[in-house]
């Protein structure tokens, strides 16, 4: 069955590039701004750029926080990207402490401030897969993906980590909990491995 992908549009930066990466592969995707528009989609992508709290504020402002919880409960595959992954976590320490959606138990914490460690973690880094998964089908282990972020996830349940990346120690760069996946990197900017990951997501039934 042909997928029908919703990209949740909640005023957090330019989301066109994510759609471009789907369009390029003939994967039908539409922007969605209201909870009631979400029905009928086979897959949902929650993108995000910028600050955690701003993202959560916009999600709540559009009543998308509840809507996301509902589609997850229905079993619809959901993919969080970058800050869209971060808000899946329970909370973030970005500029204070802020509650997230709590779908993936854990915290977002800042990379430490220390000599020689550049923050944000910016550029191409490898991801080591912890197990096989439909999201990773056909993608070579240790592929490079493009990252830009200053906070990293700390999982309460380490098993939720599907991919690990080393930057001042290992952190989960791909998470999975049930029908919810999250990637800290930008698949839409990660050339072939990123395009393949998006295509894989659209094939998850």
């Amino acid at each position: 069955m042909k997928p029908r992908i919703a990209i949740i549009h909640y005023n957090v930066g330019n989301l066109q590039n994510l759609k471009n990466a789907l369009d390029y592969q003939n994967l039908p995707a539409e922007f969605v701004t209201r909870p009631e528009e979400l029905s009928g989609f086979s897959h949902v992508i929650l993108p995000g750029v910028g600050a955690f709290q701003t993202a959560m504020d916009h999600l709540r402002g559009q009543e998308m926080d509840q809507a996301v919880q509902e589609i997850v409960a229905l079993g619809t595959p959901l993919l969080g990207v970058c800050v869209g992954m971060q808000v899946l976590f329970s909370a973030s320490q970005e500029n204070g402490r802020h509650q997230g959606l709590g779908i993936v138990p854990g915290q977002m914490v800042r990379f430490p401030d220390k000599p020689g460690l550049k923050v944000p973690h910016m550029g191409w880094n490898t991801v080591a897969f912890t197990r096989q998964d439909p999201l990773l089908e056909g993608i070579p282990d240790h592929s490079h993906f493009y990252f830009v972020h200053s906070y990293r996830g700390v999982l309460e349940t380490p098993d939720d980590g599907l991919g690990l990346t080393d930057y001042d120690g290992l952190f989960p760069s791909i998470v999975r909990r049930g029908n919810v996946w999250g990637v800290q990197f930008h698949p839409e900017k990660s050339q072939n491995p990123g395009l393949a990951l998006l295509a894989n997501f659209s094939r998850i039934a």
Binding site: Y24, G50, A51, L117, M122, D166, E188
Partner: protein
């Protein structure tokens, strides 16, 4: 492991790629989209486009280029040149660019960096700075293609950019630009060592050794080059493989190095 980045730079004038030798005597080196595709196939880690005219009528061409690039190239790219307002940034980001590079306008109005980072995120704000060595252990920031001194000390200005929310520094040595005599390792290392945001070294890359030195002795996180790539001296892949062979972390892909012999002749309008 985080890899070091190799970034081809395309200077754009009226929709065409040009590259000056020390900013004098521009030569036409091809079609931007064509070159961008080639570099993408060669595993370029990012691309930078500098609109060196940035006149009002050419701005539209640049936005159109950004939008076409974003539809078929899935690596990050930056657009710079003549960006002086938040509206300029918004237009470029909306067209599909991941980052903007600001230079002169940021010196005249440093608040542009602060506001840009606030509205679009630090990851979006690259501050380009052109420096010249003006004495022993003294480098000064210049504007207008190296013609106008600003009186700003290079390291101090780089720190201020970081404090205002810049996500990266694109550091060009005006003494070296287009000379292929090697990057200015001293100022690159000083600035990279003083900041905790990435520094892109630019100006002077001519040989494999130059790239190697910039990323090791110069402590740069990325190197940017134009002529060596545009005129086919090396492919991006060749540089990356040579550096990886010397122990520099690089993203190598298994894609074929297409058009190995595709050096673009000056004046070729294809």
């Amino acid at each position: 492991m985080l890899t070091k980045r190799i970034i081809p730079c395309l200077d754009i004038k009226a929709g065409r790629v040009v590259k000056g030798v020390s900013f004098v005597g521009l030569r036409d080196a091809g079609d931007p989209l064509e070159l961008a595709r080639r570099y993408n196939d060669q595993s370029a880690d990012e691309l930078v486009f500098l609109d060196i005219t940035a006149s009002h009528e050419n701005r539209g061409l640049t936005l159109e280029l950004a939008s076409r690039l974003a539809k078929e190239l899935f690596i990050p790219f930056t657009i710079g040149g003549g960006i002086s307002t938040l509206e300029d940034i918004r237009a470029i980001v909306s067209a599909g660019a991941d980052k903007v590079s600001v230079n002169t306008a940021a010196i005249h109005n440093p608040d542009l960096i602060t506001q840009g980072a606030l509205h679009f995120g630090s990851q979006c704000m690259v501050v380009a700075m052109d420096v010249k060595q003006t004495g022993p252990d003294r480098w000064e920031v210049y504007t207008h293609g190296g013609r106008n001194p600003t009186g700003l000390n290079a390291v101090d200005w780089a720190r201020e950019c970081q404090n205002r929310g810049a996500g990266e520094i694109l550091l060009t040595s005006m003494d070296r630009d287009g000379q292929k005599s090697g990057f200015d390792l001293e100022i690159t290392a000083q600035i990279s060592g003083s900041l905790n945001i990435p520094v892109i070294a630019s100006g002077g890359g001519g040989t494999m050794d130059h790239f190697y030195q910039a990323l090791t002795i110069g402590k740069a996180d990325a190197v940017l080059a134009a002529s060596v790539f545009h005129y086919g001296t090396y492919t991006v892949n060749q540089v990356k493989q040579a550096l990886a062979g010397r122990g520099v972390p690089m993203r190598l892909t298994e894609q074929p190095d297409v058009e190995e012999t595709g050096a673009i002749e000056p004046g070729n309008k294809s």
